[in-house]
């Protein structure tokens, strides 16, 4: 293939990624050449501008692109699946930057603020690549861009021991997970001789028919276990509490939402694209269903362990980490039950609800823990008297995370239930419901602190502007989606689904 062919592609569809890459580059150069006097907050606002432009391009793609656009044998692939995830990432990182601006302004730990912003952007770029490729090499590159950015971000509080520890742990466990993933991929490559997911599905099916089912299983198992790292699901979940605790809160929120969503984008695409074809027409046996059965065990264990371990936590960020493990379990359910194209709607809706609730929660956690100088749950004592609206908003977020109406989180779960029961997976729904009830206990533990316990101080607590914006947007979104979920569900269904159905993907 010559250079000419490369220019023959219509590169405008890649504008979102190009924009983010450009802004990340410019930010890093600006950070380097600008004197020490320059207030780096400007870089944060500049990064937000970049995100706004990229969002515009994604929306433009959504409106104009009638069918998937593929670059260089699907190494990059602009389709509705990726676009929807990109919108999530962009919103998430925009929130994270807003939080970071307030965080850095008042932090005595984080000095190198320029890095903070452009690393968030490169992380975003990695996530976007993960969502829009159908080739394992590119997907892996995206995964690594995201990982490397987040490794550094976690260690940003240079003088803080916990932060250093968590960064180190994150690098080590992350590398192990990557190695495991690669090991699994090597098997799959060995059988298919390709990294392209569309070709792989056919070759793997051939290999399956020739009796190599077990070897495919090994490849699948290693790959999926490695990938659970990013979504912090069992068995690769142990890093989450330590890292969440050590990282600066905006970074924690970034890991909890953006990084996790990117992991889901990758897992869903790879699992469905390359394994759904493992079907033996003679015996009517589908290996795919067996593979999903293993994933459902991961989902069930994540729900159970995440929710029960969270019960014992006294540190708010560790609690949120376990809550995040449980949420990853819920989010695997749509994939496992595999109700045709509705995986997509269910996952995106749940992720949107989770994005709003989690960012809202972390925004308030950030303000409260910094004010009280402790991350203990007791920091929330008497919050209602200090900042009534923040406490009410926090209650709404926690209700959403717990899945209690009226909140977006309830409908996210409800939608997943609908699919799961329609498919007869009563046991998964049973676990999901039972563990949700368990989760009431610790979510309401925070609520109890806020409303029923006397705090050490009654001084009014003011939310900084950036935090306030995040909280208001998240609270409004959570509430409105709780009453009128069809706004989002139908938007996803109408604008994204036509070219994400399995028929086209296979």
């Amino acid at each position: 293939m010559g250079v000419k062919d490369i220019f023959a592609y219509d590169w405008t569809y890649l504008m979102p990624e190009i924009t983010i890459l450009g802004f990340a580059t410019i930010l890093s150069i600006m950070d380097m050449i600008a004197g020490k006097r320059l207030n780096r907050t400007i870089l944060g606002w500049f990064a937000l501008v970049g995100i706004a432009i990229a969002t515009y391009f994604v929306l433009d793609n959504v409106a104009t692109l009638q069918e998937p656009y593929s670059y260089l044998f699907d190494t990059m692939r602009v389709d509705s699946f990726g676009n929807a995830f990109k919108l999530l990432f962009l919103t998430g990182v925009a929130f994270a930057i807003l939080l970071s601006i307030s965080y850095i302004k008042e932090s005595d730990e984080v000095k190198h603020t320029g890095e903070f912003y452009y690393l968030l952007l490169t992380g975003l770029l990695g996530a976007m690549v993960m969502a829009s490729s159908a080739d394992l090499i590119t997907l892996f590159v995206g995964l690594e861009i995201l990982s490397l950015s987040s490794y550094i971000l976690v260690g940003m509080r240079k003088k803080n021991l916990a932060s250093n520890e968590s960064a180190f742990k994150y690098v080590v466990t992350g590398s192990i997970a990557t190695a495991i993933t690669l090991f699994g991929i090597s098997y799959l490559y060995g059988f298919s001789g390709t990294t392209n997911l569309y070709e792989m599905t056919q070759r793997l099916a051939e290999a399956y028919h020739n009796g190599f089912g077990f070897m495919i299983l090994i490849g699948f198992a290693f790959m999926i276990v490695g990938l659970t790292f990013k979504i912090s699901a069992i068995p690769n979940h142990m890093w989450a509490p330590d890292v969440y605790q050590g990282a600066a809160t905006p970074v924690t929120a970034f890991l909890a939402v953006v990084s996790k969503s990117a992991g889901f984008a990758l897992i869903i695409r790879v699992v469905i694209l390359s394994f759904a074809g493992l079907f033996n027409p003679e015996t009517q046996m589908s290996m795919f269903m067996d593979l999903l059965w293993y994933v459902s065990i991961i989902a069930a264990l994540s729900m159970i362990i995440g929710n029960t371990m969270a019960l014992r936590q006294t540190n708010i960020k560790r609690l949120m980490a376990y809550s995040g493990i449980a949420q990853a379990g819920y989010l695997l359910v749509p994939l496992v039950i595999f109700t045709q194209s509705f995986i997509f709607e269910q996952t995106i809706f749940f992720l949107s609800a989770y994005l709003l609730a989690a960012f809202g929660t972390f925004a308030i956690i950030m303000v409260v823990t910094r004010d009280r100088k402790t991350e203990d749950l007791k920091a929330f004592a008497g919050l209602y008297h200090r900042a009534p609206l923040a406490a009410v908003a926090m209650t709404l977020f926690l209700l959403s995370l717990a899945g209690i109406p009226i909140s977006a989180g309830f409908f996210g779960k409800f939608y997943i239930f609908l699919g799961a029961i329609g498919n007869g997976s009563f046991w998964l729904v049973g676990i999901m419901l039972a563990t949700s009830v368990i989760s009431y206990y610790y979510y309401f533990g925070i609520i109890r602190q806020m409303y029923m316990r006397p705090g050490e101080t009654e001084a009014a607590l003011k939310l900084p502007a950036g935090v306030l914006v995040v909280v208001i947007v998240a609270a409004l979104g959570t509430f409105v989606l709780g009453i009128l979920p069809e706004i989002l569900i139908n938007y996803i269904h109408d604008f994204f689904n036509p070219y994400f159905n399995l028929g086209d993907m296979l």
Binding site: I404, G422, V437
Partner: protein
Amino acid sequence: MDNSFLLSLITFSPLLAILILLLVPKSQITIIKQLGILGTILPLILATMLFVSFDYHQIGMQFYEHASWIQIPLSLMADNQTYYLNIDYEMGVDGISMPLVFMTSIIATLAAVASWNIKKRTKEYFILFHLLLIGMFGVFTAQNLLLFFLFFELTLVPMYFLIGIWGYVDREKAANRFLIYNGIGSAIMLLGFIAMLFVSSLVSPEPTISIWRLVEALTTPGNAFVTNVPESFKFGLFMAFVIAFGIKLPIFPFHSWMLKVHVQAPPAIVMIHSGILLKMGAYGLLRMGIGFFPDVAQKMAVGMAILGLINILYGATLAFVQRDLKMVLAYSSISHMGVILLGFAAMNLFGFQGAMFQVISHGFISALMFFLIGVIWERTGTSQIDELGGLAKSMPFVSGVFLAGGMASLGLPGMSGFISEFFAFLGLFGSHPVLAAIGALGLIVTAVYVLRAIMAATFGPTPTKYQQLADAQPMEVIPIVVLLGFIILIGIYPAMLSNPLQETLKTLVIQVTGIGG
């Protein structure tokens, strides 16, 4: 007047009070309390209009409202076809729910009056109180399973706060237990509701979770619903509803949360809890459990009767040995809820009527009793039977009404408790005479524990510290008189309640016996 939005108006009228309360500064305690009480007057007026304009002779839903709400794309079957699930905003009342709405509005107003004694954080208290009201009205008027569920859950969160912030010493534990038990109940309920949707999608091209549509489909003989759905599935769903609403009612092994709430919550909230919230369990059981699966219910009647017997005897026996008046009443509530189950189990018109009478009658009686306990607690600072005594001398009015309430509770003729128990047992004697005979034993024990508790608290020598106690204030007399008035009114003029109930229950009986028999 156009009544087409009456139910929505009733349900959401407490919002007005909430909005106004939000604007009042925290320090204006008296104004907040007045507004809190005034706020409940509006739904009371609207509910009275509902009661007056309800047509006794019409079968089926009245004041029906319908608007499309949520449309979710969904593929429920394995054939990869997209369905649109329509979840509509549907409200309506029939003979069963209309009296409950009316009762809710009355007890709510009286509980608001009883809340006059709330000493801290009055603004938040009344805001949550009105939120709770919205949930309760909504539960009784919603005609769509999801809407019902949302309102049901809407009662959960305000109740958690009302118990946890304004309760007595052990309030947080009580609130937690309330939350977890009811959370489990709600989870099972939700599972059942979604399974209903799944079933409906199996047999009809347009899946629905509209309550009356489901009832219609499930009770028409020969309908695809009835023939295509396996018996075991129906049985499972019925059991799911029994457990979900059984926790709320509460049925025997699931009752421990309710004892804690009765003891720890503030009196005004216990009035609501015992008077209305428990009845949501009975209502759900009748509407969903028996309403959806009359044939299964018919087969399970004996089981239900036995559960009812356990409730009656267990509650009554334990009420007998309690030292705390609140605990006596809490166990008494369990016992009385057993009568409701017995009425259901009778599966005939008398039984259902008895059960519904019991729902309403116990609502008023327990509201009255807990209000009185609140009055006594205000003055003496205790509700322990041992520490009380001789109150009749210093507080003759309160003690007198207390005795009257006790009489109503043990089923003295001329009061509402008599009618309900009479009908329930009459019904059960018709279908299961042996069980009814055993149940009647419970009535004797009831008389014993009620009299023991009331005598010990109000008669005997008056301890010196209680000699100067003031009798009921005008503010307290109103709720007492109103509640007692309703108890006696239903006792001497039961037609007031049986008229609206009649047609709806007749339809239900036809469904129960028509298919099951």
